[in-house]
Every structure is written in structure tokens, then in C-alpha cells.
Symmetry: D2
Subunit: 423 residues, 4 copies
Amino acid sequence: MTTFDDRSLVEIRRDLHRHPEEGWKEFRTTALVAEELDRLGFDLALGADAVNAEERLGVPSDDEIAAARERARREGAPEEYLDYMDDVTGLVASKRYGDGPTIGVRVDMDALARSEATDDDHRPAREGFGSTHPTEMHACGHDGHTAIGVGIARAFDAEGFDGTLKLFFQPAEEGGRGGKPMSETDHLDDVDALLALHLGLDEATGTIVGGYDRPLSNAKIDVTFDGEPAHAGGAPNEGRNALQAMSTAIQNLYAIPRHADGKTRINVGQVHADNAQNVICEEARMRVEVRGEDADLNDYMMAKADRVVEHAAGMHDVDFDTSLYGMTTTFENDQSVVETVMDAAETVEAVDQVCGRSPFGGSEDASFLVRRVQENGGVASYVGIGASNPAGHHTAYFDIEEESLDIGVDVITESVRRLADDL
Amino acid sequence: MTTFDDRSLVEIRRDLHRHPEEGWKEFRTTALVAEELDRLGFDLALGADAVNAEERLGVPSDDEIAAARERARREGAPEEYLDYMDDVTGLVASKRYGDGPTIGVRVDMDALARSEATDDDHRPAREGFGSTHPTEMHACGHDGHTAIGVGIARAFDAEGFDGTLKLFFQPAEEGGRGGKPMSETDHLDDVDALLALHLGLDEATGTIVGGYDRPLSNAKIDVTFDGEPAHAGGAPNEGRNALQAMSTAIQNLYAIPRHADGKTRINVGQVHADNAQNVICEEARMRVEVRGEDADLNDYMMAKADRVVEHAAGMHDVDFDTSLYGMTTTFENDQSVVETVMDAAETVEAVDQVCGRSPFGGSEDASFLVRRVQENGGVASYVGIGASNPAGHHTAYFDIEEESLDIGVDVITESVRRLADDL
Amino acid sequence: MTTFDDRSLVEIRRDLHRHPEEGWKEFRTTALVAEELDRLGFDLALGADAVNAEERLGVPSDDEIAAARERARREGAPEEYLDYMDDVTGLVASKRYGDGPTIGVRVDMDALARSEATDDDHRPAREGFGSTHPTEMHACGHDGHTAIGVGIARAFDAEGFDGTLKLFFQPAEEGGRGGKPMSETDHLDDVDALLALHLGLDEATGTIVGGYDRPLSNAKIDVTFDGEPAHAGGAPNEGRNALQAMSTAIQNLYAIPRHADGKTRINVGQVHADNAQNVICEEARMRVEVRGEDADLNDYMMAKADRVVEHAAGMHDVDFDTSLYGMTTTFENDQSVVETVMDAAETVEAVDQVCGRSPFGGSEDASFLVRRVQENGGVASYVGIGASNPAGHHTAYFDIEEESLDIGVDVITESVRRLADDL
Amino acid sequence: MTTFDDRSLVEIRRDLHRHPEEGWKEFRTTALVAEELDRLGFDLALGADAVNAEERLGVPSDDEIAAARERARREGAPEEYLDYMDDVTGLVASKRYGDGPTIGVRVDMDALARSEATDDDHRPAREGFGSTHPTEMHACGHDGHTAIGVGIARAFDAEGFDGTLKLFFQPAEEGGRGGKPMSETDHLDDVDALLALHLGLDEATGTIVGGYDRPLSNAKIDVTFDGEPAHAGGAPNEGRNALQAMSTAIQNLYAIPRHADGKTRINVGQVHADNAQNVICEEARMRVEVRGEDADLNDYMMAKADRVVEHAAGMHDVDFDTSLYGMTTTFENDQSVVETVMDAAETVEAVDQVCGRSPFGGSEDASFLVRRVQENGGVASYVGIGASNPAGHHTAYFDIEEESLDIGVDVITESVRRLADDL
């Protein structure tokens, strides 16, 4: 039987690495973490008690979720917690150690939809803990994040601290699908300080970044173009070509003007059209992402993208439909928390470099949790835990140096203690 | 046990309609036809004896073929013929009735990769013979063609004719994948006259077209663009975007100049790129079709398309690969055969309109068989058997009026007799 | 003083070749022809008496017309006829020789807006009759057409024929701007038979084509996109980019689907946008041409082009305006006239090849005159006069072999006589 | 006779505003300034003595320069200085007042290629000093810059300062064409401190910006595509379409990926293709601008743009040619100079707001002069002189509040004094 009980953080991370689960499919991960935290005496809120299920974004089909749940069961997820979860993943776990403030820590659990390298140049393959799920991979370190979350819970087991610890094991960070619905619960209302964390990000093991600031706002939009099929040889003029519409859209999406006020981004990641070669394309689908350095810039990109899609469709006389797949926003860390983390990091022996605030190049839906805490008068920072990675995030050869796991636990644990004392 | 033995042509057609098999997957169809023709005393060449296996175009993966074969077995295909076929479909069956010339008849057997309508507006659904294979459908009448082929074999059983009958049950006509490899065998070398046939084509039941001429030459080309992934937010400049390359290619493919010398066509039917929204597209694939009124025009389109693909890739600094998926050529019918068919048609009571030669709007890989026969000094025509169809070919509501099956048998049978007498 | 009085057709053609005048600027050409026909006793209708001035298409600006008129005066155009014309070019000249039917002959007079080759490989340059107007050139043989028109008038001077001759010297054929307004007068109402003619068209001197049939219908459309300028470095997002709109339009115009029913064409000949490099484009203009094998196909292309332009503008949030620059339609020759011309051609010694009807690849606004005559019950043909040309029509090295001028006069003159006798 | 002698700065500015001269055409401006500075006792270097004539970028044709020079003469430019200039504009003027350091001041003189608003909403029109040159306009304040340059020369006439003043009246700033060749002379070698200045930039009159930093690097590239013409109706396949190549290039230029390291820009300002509508486009030209926040980013954009152009040409089988039209680079101001300017500004009564360093959104070829001074060990700053402007720079309604002229003179004069004292 699978359990985390007697396993080290490295073992836990490798177990998760072998069983990566995409967003909203983290049944095995959630259940195993829940079991371990239950053992450690935490109060648990699982599934629809942990996230606002109605507000979930980018949810897979019922069939896919059922299959993921069944797979989790098959791969050793404890039934009790699977039952509690029903068909929603995610976990909020809290434990009161003292009268002091409530300190939250948020980690994310999901894997990416990509295949992992299987050759010996890749340590997980070489050492036998590569993904066993052909199209899923922990290529962004969330396996390590989850292990660190468990490590923090364990760390306080012996002597506690003067306050309440609240751990947020968030589903579906990839795509910005889980942060918003997790923030739209009341679990954050009593959190006085929140720490989120990320491994790697091209910082070497031993480096700590006190706070990554201003992630890009982004929105992910699913677009479908619906035309009219026709025989491409016999009656090309009778078709309404969804693919011509989509290609025109793609060309013009990438050409949305840069903005004077700051960074913007646009990408089309997926496209699909499935007609025979001799049929004028009936339906074409694409998945688009826009970003902005702040929410206004993100709105600018969304408005421009909408206009492009609408008129690309109109130009080729096809219908279209757009829907939101995921979303993130931006935030600024609180300087006081950044400094507390930096001070805490200085006390950890394995840390050899401590940096201050640094801009975050990408997007993060921890943003919704951070903003919720800040809006309630709390403070927060998004902390970087260096972890030498041999290849870029999201690539087939991504891996992390596992010494970083203990460093992460030590830095965050010490930060939690200090925040509890200072607030 | 399934067998065609005691079933009418309508029953056979409906059985095939319920079990449509895409190109190179016609295991059940081939095996059932083979069994019936074996019963009728034909000599059989199956699988790699019927087509030049090395020259097959657009062959599915080994896994897909194995699955199709296994499905055929499950759905009642007689083992004996499955074993003979191994993993190649197709059948050439011949029987000598007299000393006269050898007359060939070619029918195609494959279905399309599309879903069939399931509502009551669609007769096959309403009357319970809709496709039981979710993504396959006989939407071009080849189920009827195969039934007519069987009907012709039966028709000569009683009294024969003065010659040899050779029936070509061709696989993989859709996409132009089976005609070329079936023509590259020696089965056509002794054929003095060849008749190919097609149902429907927007002619009503009771109409016969003596010869469809000059189908478009075409080529189907699979293209893959290979770029370099990168994080679309963090490092968009580090990617080499396969999707931008593909979109640029698509825009410019459709814009290949029209040609002064005649009809040309271009279409992109399928596109796929499967990255997360935040990853610069690493790989993008498309399936392209070009056509020309003659082989030179087809070559013009192929050369232009190659140039577009090459430079779209170069523009975005990505690699590319192209391969041929299918191919057809063009031909002219022999006037003598057209006239023989027209004369024969006049003798069939259910025929109420007989037309002469007419241009064929689409493409047909019977072209390779016709040309092979003509190159050997034989004659040929591609005959139209009217069959009122409620919806266009290749659409979800395509169907044929089944009275056309007997008409087809009668017209072709009488044509065979007359050709044998005249040659 | 310039006059055609004592000059040969070759001299006249060379004089016109040296003084090419674009459409609606043929003041010198019209005036000199008018003077010569006046001398020969023709009744003249000039300018707004010859064409429906309100219906003119693609008219240059008042300044340009005034300049062309002034240039004509400077280059020897007789004042009397310039005065009559006012600011409209074109001439209809008629003379009654007998009681028989009225036979019309239409020639066009305008030059192209292009520069002529000036090197010795080009005979007009080598022999000193190259264009003296830097951006205008007789690159389509209309100088020869005009000379032939004069030659026909002279040919009947001696012995006449049994009928009335009506000569249509049409302005602004290039672009299809003069045919429609010339057809919308009553000059054609009494024409029983109409001959139009064209030199060259890749037929050698000595060849006569009895009738070029079915020219493509076409329409020329001027499009302006109006956006909003902005500093491309400082505020790219504040612009509304007319050039992005235009480029998107161009890409998609060329990609309008080919049509099952016949030939279609699309071209964008001119584009202009005149901003500094650091200004987001405020205004962009383009000149588009569509064609169809018949009027329906032309309408299909116009509708598709309109849709592309509208949504290219919408996609980039810019305004747009379209206007018709020129237009032609299609026609079928009357077989009786074609045969009469062929018979007549056989009698001309210098003719060594006589062809029947042949499809006309391009467009011609003689079509409006032909259709008007046919609608009134008359007959017509569009005759080809072979004239070996060393380089393609509309190119800088176009020229015609001048022996073709007399052949043209002889064939048309004999055809006119025969038509008058036969009708 | 025209002279600046007895005219106020406002009068001088208005005179220049009425006679705007585009880059490399500033004959009248240069000559009038030279005459005035000659009167004030400056040593003059004019034309090829002021700029490195061989290194000029984006030089108009000889005809255009000759016409501009002739116009200047006609509009009162003193002959003596026109003669000295020959066909090159620009002026370096220096005067020694004391033994102290050499302080340079750089102003630019050229106008933009755009028409000025002529309605009464526009003060220059209303008050009678609107541009008299239809396609030229001082829409960026260089008329004011030149007037301030004259004002500074006059200001020191009474009491001087302890050093040498060197005034750089730079031609052809628009497009980045004059800065590089002016920097490639030895006039800057002895400059210990350099001040450049700009009016407006959306700061109100009374505001001084001590230093605009880090202008974008940019490059302006002229591209020509050379294809093959063909008749668009008769032989569209025989053309090689330069316009399709250009449109493909434009679509893909705007879609060059944004860069992780900082701001990039791309724009296509001008396009021209001049064929008749029925001719496949033979030649198409465009003027492109790229920018980067630093020189590396600019190089990135140039390399990407080159790749796009090359393959757009290759895709449509046309030739291409690219040439550099203009160029700027980036720089950082020296903090000491910024502070000196800010201190000086505080002493000027009409100044009500003094700002520190601010990023410069656009590009500036003063950058080459600044870098040359800094490379030689000198110091520099690019100073902003607020001047309320009713409409954006480069627009038809741009104007400046003229109170800013005296403020500019006072701030720069005081800064010069202080720099001379401090260095």
C-alpha cells in the first residue's frame, strides 16, 4: 500500500514525479498528502471544501476526471480521502500550535501535459523515477513543492510555533485554473501572512530570493471557429473555411502591437482541425494565452485578441466561440515579509546566497491568494527556493537538485516562526 | 457467423454501411467479399498479392492496422481470408467464363474518417444501419460499390459471358492511397477493357453517365514543422515557433496563384499542434492537398507548395519535413467504351436517362488503373451510376437510394458482355 | 503643324507611339483623328457627345486632365477639336456611303501607365519613335488600333460600300473605364453589326482570329484604409494601423477560394502608404482587380473581396472606403460574323493563317459595346489581327510588326463590305 | 531680405515654422543661423566641414537636394552661406569666451515629411505662421530647438562665461540620419560636457527634466522586392509577385516575438508598389523601423527582420535588397550633469517643476554625439524643456507654447556656466 508515512521528502518527491497528475486530476497527490497531514493532526478541507468548485477554470471533461480518479485509486490513493474529494481536487490543512497569528503557506501540486525525456541523459529516467504517465510530467517542480509542503507540516510536529499553520495545497496552477477558485473561499480570511514558494527558476541550489514581484497577468482563451465543409476539389467556393479564419487570426494575434506601458505577451499553444485533406475545414480550435505586466495591459491584450478573432471569423464567414480557460493576476510582495524571509534564510546553513526582490518573468495564480490576503489586511511574499535545474522549466529534461527540498523546508519554517513572532 | 452467402445486395450494402472501415483497414470487407467470391468460384489474390505493398501510400501505424484487423475478426470476418491477407487489404478476383477478352471491373471499398449523423432525419440511423464505428462512415457510397461488385460476380454465375471477368476490390481510395499500389502489379496486364464506377455524384437514380473524364490530378502532402519550445511569458524570443511557420504557410498556400492553363486546387485539411498555451509551439503538423486539371498543373501546385513550406519554415527558423500521403492522376475515357456503356444502359429498364461524357470535378485513383490498362493498349471508362443522394458526398447525412445497386449491376453486366463481344 | 493628312499608317502609328496618352487623357490622339476624319467627310461626335460623361469610371483628377489637355495643345493637337472635346476624350465618327446597314468598328486609343524601354534592343527606341512621355507607353498596341481605324476610314474614301460606317474611337480601355460610358449613349442603337479588333495577343503577323470569345468579367476596386497615426516607438498601442489592415487584406484576397464553376482571378496592383518609418500607418491605399469567367463569378469575387476588406479593417480597428475604378463584362461572338470575317480574311493575300473562335484570356470593355449591339438585335465579333510582338503585352519591350496595320485594314474593310451585303 | 539679426526668438521660430525643411534639406535654416552666428563672432564649420558627408544616411536624391537648395535661395537664404555649404547641410559654431572647458550644445533643425493642419483650431494656421511647404511641417519642435540655439549664442554675447561654447546645429535627426555622420568628425573631441535638448515631450511649459535616459536603439531599413510582372488575368502563374512577398513580410515583421530582456519595436511606415491593377506586382518597396531598449535588442530585431524579409522573398520567388536608411543608439546620462542642470533650472524663475532622470520612450541620434563625448572622457545629458503642446508630436496639430523658448535658453545658459565652473 502506498503511503507517505515513513518516506523521506526525496522519496515523496520521486513518488510524485513518477505519478504526475495534470490540473484537476491530482487525486492521488491530494489523497496521499491528506493522509499524511491527517496523521500529523491537521484539520483537513478537501475537494469542494478547499476550492470553490463552481469557479473552477479549464476543467477537463467528466470522463477525463473520472479516468484520473480511477487511475489514482489504481495507483494506491487511499480510498477514504478519494471519497471525501469526490471529483474535485485540492486541500487546505490547518493546525493550531499556539495563540499567535495564522500563517499560510501555499504550494501547488499539478503536473504539465507533456512527455518526459526517457534517455539516460535525464536523471529521473536514469535513476528510475521518470513519469509513468506517458503524456504527463512534473516539468515545473510542483512535485518538489508538494514535498516541501509535507516537510513543513512535519517540521512543526516536534516543537510547533506560536500560531496557526495553514497549508494550501492548490490544484491546477498550470494554466492559472486553480488559484482563482481556491482564493474564492473563506480559508484565506484569517490568514495574517501568506508565503508561496517556487523551486528553480534558474537560481542555483543554495540561493533564496526573498520575493518574486509582479508576475504577469494573463488569460487563457479557448477559441473555436465553426465553418461549413465542402469538397475542396469539387466545390471549394461552397465551403466556409474555419482554418483560413484561424490562420488569419494567428498571424494577427502575434502582430498585436506592443504597448508603451509595459510588457505584453501573446501565444497560441494548441491548434486542431481534423478534416480530411479534401474537405474545406469545418471546425478549427486554438488555445491562446495573453499576458500583461499588469491587469490593464492584460485587458488590452484580451480586447485586441477578441477583435482579431471576431474579424478573422467574419472575414471567412465562419462562426466562432471563445471561453476562458485560465487566468492569473499580478501583485507586489510586502517588503516586511521579504525582509523576514531574507533574514530567516541567512540562518540556514545550506543557503549561500540571499537575494532581495526580483521581477517574476512569468505568471502565477498564487496571485489571487496573495491579493485576497492583502485585501484583508494581511501580508505576503512569493519566495524563490534555488534549485539547480539542468534544463529549462516546462522542457522534457527539466529536473531539480533535491538538496533544495530541505533548504526550502528550513527557510519557510524559520520564516513562519519569525512572521508569527513579528506580527 | 457473418457471411454474404444468402444475403441481398441491399443487405450486403447495409451490413457494410454498419461496419465502415477506413483505407488500409478494410479487413472485414475484404474477407467477406473474398469468401463470397470464393464460393462463386473465382480465383483470389488477397493482400500483398493484390496490391504492391511497398508502394502503399498513407498507411496507418502498425498499431492502428493491428487494431482494425482485430476489430474485423471480432465483427465476424472469416479467419481464413484474414490470415491470407496478413496486414494488407485488397482483393483481385478473376474467373474465366469463355475464350474472349478479359474485362476488368474496379470498385473501391473504404470508408471515410468522419462521424455519421445519428438523428432520424438520416435514413441509415432511422432504419438501424448507421455506422457502429464512431469515427468512420461510408459517406461516399463505397459500400454500394462493393455490393455492386458482388452483384456482378453473382450475375454471371448463371450464364457467364464470352471472356474472363476480373474484379478489382481496391482499398484506400480516399486520399488516393490504394490506386497507385494496385496499379503497380501485373493483374492489369491482361485486361483488355476496364470499367470503374461511382454511385451518386449528384445524379438521380436512373441516370447513367457513360464516362466521367479528366478527374483532377492531386497530391496529398504531410508536413511537419519542428521548432524549439520556450516559455511564452518568460522567454518568447528563445523559441522557434513552429505554429507561426505553419500559419504563414497556410496563408500563402491558399494564395498560390491561379494558373492560366486550367483548374488548380489547394486545401489544408488537418492541422495539429499540441503545446500548452504558455509554450512557444515546438511541433506543428498539417495535411495538404493540391490538385491540377492535369499532371503539369498538379506539378505546378506541388512545386509552389514546396516553396511556401520551405520558406515559411525558414522565416521562423524551424525545420520541416514533407512526405507524400496520397496521389491521383488524370485520364481520358475511350470513346468506344463510353458508347458501349451508353448502349448497354439503354437496354436496362430502370434507366431513364443516359448521358455521354462529363468532366469529373474531383480526383480518383482509379486513374492509375485506367492509365495502366490504356498504356497496355486496352480501353477503359469510368462510369457514373446515378443514385439520388439526400446530402452531399462526404457529409454526415450522405446516403444513396438503393434501387441504384441493381441498376449498377445490370448496366455494368450488360457492358461487360458487349465489350467482350466487340473487342 | 501636326496633322495626319499626308502621313502613312506606319507614320501615324509611330507618331502616336511617341505621344502615348493614358485613359481619359487622349486629347491629342482624339483631336488628330477627328481632324483627319473631318477631312474625309465623317460626321463627328466628340467628348461628351461620344461618351456618357457622368458614367465615366476611373477618371483622373481635374488637375491631371487639365495638364494632359495642355500637353496635347503643346504637342500639336488642333485647337478646334480640343475645344469641342472640352475635358472629355473620345470620338464617334460616321459616314453614309449607301442605303445598306450600319456597320460599326470599334478601336481603343489609350496608352498604359508604364515606362518604355530605352535601349537599342527595343525597336521604337532604336528607330527614334519611343515614348516621349516618361511614364506612359503604348504597350498594348492601341496606337496601331487607332491607325487601323484611320486606315479603314481612308479605305472607303475611294469606292465606299453599300451602307453606313460608324467608327468608335474609344478612350480609356485600360482599366475598363471607357467602354461602359461609351456604350451608354445612343450611338450604338442603329448599329447592325459591330467589329472590334485587337493586334498581337501572341499571334504572328499574317494570322487572323475570327473571334475572341468570352473575355473575363472584371471589376477594379480602389480601397482606402483610414487608421490613426501614433509614434511607433513611444506609443505603438495608440495607433490604429492601416497598413496591418491592408497587409491582412492582401494576404486573404489572394486566398479567396477558387470557384467550381470556372475561372476567377484576383490581383492587387498598387499599394501606397506614406508615413515616416516611426509613425504607425495612418492611411493605406490599394487598387484591386477581380475577374470571373462570367458575370456571376465576377460577382462572387467582388463579394468575397468586400468581405475581406471589411473585416481586415475591422480587425485593426480602422475605417475603410471602396470605390469602383473600372469594369468589364463578357460576351459571345455571333458565329455568322466570325465566319464572315474568316471568309474575308481568306481573300487578303498577306494573311497566311485564319483561325476560328478562341477564348480570350483577359478582359475587354468592348464587351459593353458588343452586348449593347446584341441586345438591340445586332451581331458582333471581336477580331484578332496577328502582329508578331517581341515581348509580352504590357511590358516595357512590347512592340508590333507594322505589316499588321495594312492587314488589319484589309481584313476589316472586306468584312465590313461583306456584312453590309449579307445583313 | 531675410535675416535673423533684429528678430526675437519667437519671430525666428515662426519664420522657421513657416519654412520647414526636411532632413538634408535644411539649407535655408542652416544659412540663416550661420549668418546670425557669424554676426555674433562664432567660428563656423558648414556642410561637409560640419558632418562627415560620406557617412550620411538616408540622403535624398541629387535632384531633391538641388531643388531644396534652390528653394532656400528663393526663400531668402543668404548666398554666402549656401555657397559654403554646397550640397550638405549642418553647422558647428564655436566661440571662445574664456580659458575654461569646452561646453557643447546640440540642437536639431529638420522638419518632418507631413502636412500641417490648416484650420483655425491650429494656432500656426490661425496666426499665419503655418507651413508654406505643402508636405513638410515642424511637427516635433525642431524650429524651437534651432531658435533656442540662436538664443544661447546671443545670451553669452553680453558677458560670456569661463570657457568655450560649441553649438552643434544638427541636420536630419528625423530618421536618425544626421547624428551618426555629425559624430564622426573631430568637432566633439575637445568637448568636455555636452547638452542636448528637446522641447515638449508631453511636459508642460515650466517643467525641466534633468536628463532623458536610455532612448531606444533603432535602425531604419529600406527594402525592395523585385519580382516579375505578368498579366494578372491571362497568366497569373507566370508572375513572381513582389507584393505577395511584401505583404507576407509585413504580417510576419509585426509578429516578431517580443523579447524577455526588454522593449522592442517594429513598424513599417511606407509601402509602395505601382503596377496597373491587372499586372502581377513587379516591384514593391517598404520602409521598416526596428527598435530595442538597448543595442542588443535592436540587433535581435534587425536579425529577425532580415530573416523575415529574406524568406518572404524566397517564398514568392522574388529578389530583394535591403539598405540602411537611418540609425540611432542608446546612452545613459551622467548623473553629475543631470544634477547641474536641475540646480540651474531651480534658479530660473519661469521654471515651476524640476524632474530628475526619466526614461526616453523614443529614439534620438543625439545618442551618437553623447557617446562620442563620453567615450572621450566627457560628460553629457539630454535635457527636457517642457513646452505645453496641444497635440502629440508628429501630428498635424502639433505646436509648442513659445514661453518655453526663453526658459530653454535660460536653463541651458545657466547650465553651461555651471558646467564650465565645475569641470
